[in-house]
Amino acid sequence: MARLFYACVLVGVVLAVLVAAVYPLPQHTRYRSLINVIPDGGREEVFSMRWPGDRVQPLQSGRGGPVGLMGAAAVLSAADGASASIEVFRLRDAADNVVGLASRSTTSRGGRAQGSDWVLLVPSRGSLFLSQLNSRDVAPASRAAGTAPATAADAAAFWGNARQLRITAGPAAGGAGSVTGGTGEFAGLTGGYDETWDLERVAADGTTSGRITLTTRIRTAP
């Protein structure tokens, strides 16, 4: 009887270890990377987000502490009146698959220059970090009398007669933004990128819809 007991104990131990070995831990869905090779070296990869459909709002109203909401953006104001905002989107690849998450922060950077940082997280591949100066004020605000504060893209008044805007204005050569680093498959890469906004529709109530495109041109850091 004792032999049976100890044998079963051993079987139990082996069973537990086996289950741990074969337990199906979460795996990320991976889509084929859509990358173009650039003739003078490096590679180009295009990511995009639609507004308002791809916006993600993690903050629950009234639960963000000092962080407030202005339209789709989370906003924090400092005592000196300066403010910072963050927007979050589902991130799409060139084939329109949702491949990850993107966050965009905006604030003035000492003096009057306004800039934005992008963090792109593609769970199956890694993270890519981008930084830029902005060509115009894209912080959430009221852009027309009597309208509620909203992110720039959402406000018809922001667009005027334009249908496409290049938001990136440096700091890299040619007014491109900088790819500042990455992890996973994006580790050790450097380069530039452009952020452009395309207005697709203005509804009768003044709301807009369109697409934000990030065109990255990256190569292995020397």
């Binding site: 831990l25 979460p26 990320h28 889509y31 922060s105 604030t107 000492g110 769970p123 993270s127 500042t180």
Partner: protein, 217 residues
């Protein structure tokens, strides 16, 4: 009688096996948190502001979804194990408020036999009107999971205790790094580490009360 002895032996064996896994020697050898050098800024934040994505709980890390978890989770297949939260962080020195967004995903190399269960993270911290930093890292949540399960085995529910866990990076993921910065952080090098303190009112919540230690050289 033989069946009862066999069942008892099997049960004890399974419990022993689970204990062996939890006390996996690897979890101690790879549990060293990232060392920080240079000036360290301490930024505190807590869960509760709201998030979207998978729940940062033992079940969430293992791929289980509660009813509340299903409501917060993304429906897109590519985002099933991704998470985003926005937080106001408070600096210990001076009490300045910092706006932060934390994107995370379940570690692609997680393995129970290797005491590796955690997330990869990407932070963007913004000091309004001053500058920003971009951080890339990972955290292995094995130690609080181990202590929480041990507490559960003793019938006290999942309660890792009230000690502060300095979370080590996932093995093979490298040390958590300050990737880039702007304003006063432009050109600055550094690293960071997150500390986790369980909150008694939210058992199983592995966000809890956090401390982000940002070291700059």
């Amino acid at each position: 009688m033989r069946a009862i002895v066999a069942a008892l032996g099997l049960l004890i064996g399974v419990l022993l096996g689970v204990a062996l896994l939890l006390l996996n020697p690897l979890s101690f050898s790879q549990g060293t948190p990232a060392g920080l050098s240079g000036a360290v800024r301490v930024l505190g934040w807590e869960s509760g502001g709201g998030f979207r994505g998978f729940e940062l709980t033992p079940g969430g890390l293992l791929g289980w979804e509660s009813a509340a978890g299903r409501a917060a989770a993304f429906g897109d297949p590519g985002l099933r194990h991704a998470r985003v939260e926005i937080a106001a962080l408070t600096e210990d020195a001076g009490g300045a408020q910092v706006l932060g967004v934390r994107l995370s995903a379940i570690g692609p190399q997680d393995a129970l036999l290797q005491a590796r269960l955690g997330v990869v993270t990407a932070w963007n911290l913004v000091w309004p009107g001053q500058g920003t930093v971009l951080l890339a890292g990972s955290e292995n949540l094995w130690a609080p999971l181990r202590d929480g399960l041990w507490s559960a085995v003793r019938g006290r529910g999942f309660a890792p205790g009230d000690k502060r866990y300095a979370l080590p990076p996932l093995p093979g993921s490298g040390a958590p790094l300050l990737v880039a910065g702007t304003g006063p952080f432009a050109g600055v090098r550094g690293g960071f580490r997150e500390d986790f303190t369980p909150v008694a009112a939210r058992p199983g919540d592995l966000t809890g009360a956090r401390q982000l230690n940002l070291a700059t050289e």
